[in-house]
């Protein structure tokens, strides 16, 4: 059935030991419901959701407990039925060790669902479907947790050439997508069909690394059936060479279509959109079963005797899952994600969230501490393996020297932090740490600069307002005095009309003098300390005046409102 798909390469990449076999020998197990679920409200990219429940509330399984807030945000749901014990700050599954607002639920053991109703997306307007998916909490399950509803618009053309399903799963140890494809291929493709309709995509390419033979076979069978049912050949499984990071969205798009989506641009502008297979499954569940996203497949692997995959309710402590897998006694850390990009957990009590594709148990033996860092010898190994075609050692050089402008010139922000450079560096330099440092410094400076700019504008606006008020007051005063005297003078003149007397002349002079005073007063409002300035200072004053004029221009509407 399948036409031979032309494949493209991507630059760089590495081939670490995959360590995927151990966790794929057994089918997906359903993890037991813990005694206490700690569900963080903020589980996706974007604004943290608003809590909808309070301590003491009874919740059903699938009930919304956090509502999407803002343009980029995604809802959160109760993973089982029970009672809300608290809505409070709890430790988050993040290296920073920071806490965030969580809904703590004590399960009642009844696992009572809300009323589930399939969503007829064909009858609904596209924006309604997107709102539905936002409220169903569907986010990208490949690890980036970007709200999926935002990616389900076809871009300017109103249609797409290619929908890419990402089943590459290139990071070592992680097998959650692999087993999902083996066991639930049909549902994944149903989700893909929904996305294809929403995006008006011409074809669906399912990219799977060629080390997942069973997943490829299962997906091919399901694809054949789906194509037959749809009466076309739109869906196609493509086995891609196994090379980390082939599962990076941009790398996979490049491999399958030859298109390179530049940093900061939407792939839909290039006629292609990419979703993880787990996300497709979540969309199927949300649309066809009416079930919001409350669980996901999680691989538990690494320093454990019995690595495997679980279907886990969000909020389940990682500790509980690890305990099910016979952790070895020398385990000394828990990593969320894989060994190349995973995050070190601050404690093993942190909950499983939407971003948790893998719980990797580490030990000194499995992940030995890196040897001492040596100076860079510019050997260029990092540039050879960089999938973003960067010159990592140059970025390192400037990040280390804190010359952040130069680091940005060398495209620091095109770095996807895949870790290939650090993986091969013979000098054992933790390169990605340097990039993270440089990026966070640049962000911090931008925020600082922005607030400084705002403060300066506020200050200049205040000066401007005060000056205007002074001017107005002076003008009013002058007009008043001038008018009063003129009137008096006029009356006097009327009374003594017949003869123009010297007295009248004196009065005229008085009036003139008053007018003159008023004018002088008006002029006085101008700052007086501008005499005796050097040319440089004058130039500076001129520049400031120009900027003020600009702000005045900008502030005009506000001024009118004020008036």
């Amino acid at each position: 059935m399948s036409v031979l798909q032309r494949l493209f390469g991507f630059h760089g990449g590495v081939k670490p030991a995959y360590n995927k076999e151990a966790s794929t020998t057994q089918p997906i197990a359903v993890a037991p419901t813990p005694t206490l679920l700690v569900i963080p409200l903020h589980q996706s990219i974007g604004g943290p959701p608003r809590p909808l429940v309070a301590a003491g509330d009874r919740v059903f399984k699938g009930q919304r407990i956090g509502a999407a807030d803002g343009n980029v945000s995604s809802a959160v749901h109760a993973s089982t039925s029970g009672t809300v014990v608290a809505v409070e700050m709890r430790l988050m599954p993040h290296t920073s060790g920071l806490s965030a607002l969580c809904v703590v639920i004590e399960p009642d053991g009844r696992d009572e669902w809300i009323v589930r109703q399939p969503f007829d997306f064909r009858a609904a307007a596209p924006h309604q479907t997107r709102d539905y998916l936002r409220d169903a909490g569907v986010v990208g399950l490949g690890g980036a947790v970007f709200p999926s509803y935002l990616k389900l618009t076809a871009g300017k053309q109103g249609r797409l050439d290619t929908l890419v399903l990402n089943g590459a799963e290139c990071e070592p140890f992680i097998t959650c997508d692999d087993v999902l494809m083996r066991e639930r291929a049909e549902a994944i493709l149903k989700g893909a069909a929904i996305m294809r309709e929403m995006l008006a995509a011409g074809r669906v390419l399912i990219g799977i690394e060629d080390n997942k033979l069973q997943a490829i076979a299962a997906m091919e069978v399901a694809t054949r059936a789906a194509n037959q049912a749809a009466g076309d050949e739109a869906m196609q499984v493509v086995s891609v060479p196994t090379r980390y990071p082939a599962g990076g969205a941009k790398q996979l798009i490049r491999v399958l279509t030859g298109i390179e989506v530049p940093h900061g641009e939407r792939s839909t502008e290039y006629g292609v959109q990419c979703f993880n297979v787990g996300t497709a499954y979540a969309i199927y569940e949300a649309i066809e079963l009416g079930q919001p996203l409350i669980s996901r497949i999680v691989t538990v692997a690494g320093n454990v005797g019995n690595a495997r995959n679980f279907e886990v309710l969000f909020g389940t402590p990682m500790r509980d899952l690890i305990a099910l897998c016979d952790p070895l006694p020398d385990s000394d850390r828990v990593i969320m994600g894989g060994p190349m990009m995973g995050l070190l957990m601050p404690a093993n009590s942190v909950p499983v969230v939407k971003a948790t594709n893998c719980i990797l148990v580490g030990s000194k033996k499995l992940f030995p501490p890196p040897p001492p860092e040596m100076p860079c010898i510019r050997c260029g190994e990092c540039a050879k393996v960089c999938p973003a075609d960067l010159q990592p050692f140059e970025m390192y050089w400037f990040s280390r020297a804190k010359i952040f402008g130069k680091a940005q010139e060398y495209h620091l922000f095109d770095c996807i932090e895949c870790g290939c450079c650090a993986y091969v560096c013979p000098s054992r330099i933790p390169l990605v740490d340097y990039y993270r440092f440089a990026k966070s410094e640049i962000w911090a400076r931008e925020v600082e600069k922005e607030s400084a700019d705002q403060a300066r504008e506020r200050y200049e606006f205040r000066l401007l307002r005060e000056e205007r008020e002074r001017q107005e007051k002076a003008a009013k005063l002058a007009a008043k005095t001038a008018a009063g005297r003129e009137k008096a003078a006029a009356a006097l003149a009327e009374a003594q009309k017949p003869a123009a007397t010297p007295e009248e002349d004196a009065k005229k002079a008085l009036i003139a003098a008053a007018l003159e005073r008023a004018r002088a007063q008006k002029e006085q409002v101008q700052p007086e300390n501008v005499s005796d300035l050097t040319p440089e200072q004058q130039a500076e004053v001129a520049a400031i005046e120009a900027r003020r004029a600009e702000i005045r221009e900008m502030a005009k509407p506000h001024l009118r409102q004020d008036d």
Binding site: V14, P262, Y270, P339, M340, F367, P368, M374, G380, D389
Partner: protein
């Protein structure tokens, strides 16, 4: 606790440097075969001096001694100096050269990875300017007796019987200073030392370096860019001039197989620290060295021009890199066009 990535490919500066040393062995073997064991003495002398100088400098700079002493970089510099200096040079010539390389060219500029100039070439350039005659006394091919060589290095120097100019030197001297009737063919045909291609014995040493170079390519320690651009340029320039006037310009095979050309192509030009790093930059950098080498060899006053050519191009390397940055992902041809 470290951040991701949590596991690393087994690799180290030490392993890179050791493989470079390994790659030098075939060339050294041919060297010993044709010119005697003196070169081994020089290598040992240079190595000991380099390690001692490195240790002192590390101590002075407060750096971890064993970590950096074990990285092998000082040994690579030492071996390259020994291989570019005459094997029967007096011991102090080698020692001073190595000290200049390690103390001045390397550590005063900040140590490993920081030197803008190739340390071995700094040593060569310095010594050939300071001691031109000592740097030009090369052993005659076939005279491999160890005792007189040992004496030449450490004791009384009675060199007349055992030295001769290198092929490059002889050719240059003949063409420059002899009567106008001297021709390349005349010199090359006449002198006993010129072998089949680039000088008796030297062509085999060069072949040994090529073997090592192929190993470095296979190990992905060097990329093809620099050796290819260097040799191709040298070949093109010498070929063009030899076609133009074969009587006064030596041909490409002579240029490529004589002097330090092969050592340069695979081991000196390819020094990552002081050279270019972008693919296009590497091509320009190595081609520039080849061009300057040919010019200095042909018109200059020194027998071989590689050292000066390398140093001159070292100066230009950062600029070349700046202007040859490869386009990053998504910024080639506006991203839309598949470019394979």
């Amino acid at each position: 606790m470290n951040n991701s990535p949590y596991f690393l490919k087994p690799a180290s500066v030490q392993s890179v440097m050791l493989r470079v040393l390994l790659a030098l062995l075939p060339g050294i073997a041919a060297y010993v075969w044709f010119f005697g064991a003196a070169i081994l003495v020089q290598i040992a002398l240079a190595s000991v001096t380099a390690l001692a100088a490195e240790a002192v400098m590390l101590k002075l700079r407060g750096k971890p001694l064993m970590l950096f002493l074990g990285d092998g970089s000082a040994l690579v510099t030492a071996w390259l100096i020994a291989l570019t200096f005459p094997p029967i040079a007096p011991w102090w010539l080698t020692v001073v050269g190595v000290l200049a390389a390690i103390v001045v060219a390397k550590h005063l500029y900040g140590g490993l990875g920081q030197n803008p100039f190739n340390p071995a070439m700094v040593a060569f350039a310095l010594m050939i300017v300071a001691y031109p005659s000592l740097m030009s006394q090369w052993p005659a091919v076939g005279i491999t007796d160890f005792a007189p060589q040992w004496n030449a290095i450490f004791g009384a120097r009675q060199l007349d019987a055992m030295t001769m100019a290198t092929p490059l030197d002889a050719l240059r001297t003949a063409l420059h200073t002899a009567d106008a009737r001297a021709t390349v063919a005349g010199v090359l045909g006449h002198e006993a030392m010129f072998g089949n291609i680039g000088g008796k014995g030297w062509e085999w040493v060069a072949a040994g370096y090529v073997l090592g170079g192929v190993y470095l390519l296979q190990q992905r320690i060097v990329t093809w860019h620099m050796p290819a651009a260097f040799l191709a340029t040298l070949l093109a320039v010498s070929g063009a001039f030899s076609l133009y006037d074969a009587a006064h310009f030596a041909g490409p095979s002579f240029h490529i197989f004589t002097g330090g050309a092969m050592l340069g192509a695979f081991f000196i030009v390819t020094d990552p620290v002081s050279g270019c790093t972008t693919p296009r930059g590497k091509l320009i950098f190595a081609a520039g060295i080849a061009l300057l080498t040919w010019i200095i060899r042909t018109f200059g006053a020194y027998p071989d021009g590689i050292a000066f050519a390398v140093l001159l191009m070292n100066i230009a390397a950062p600029l070349i890199d700046m202007y040859t940055q490869p386009p990053v992902f998504g910024h080639k041809g506006k991203g839309r066009t598949p470019d394979e």
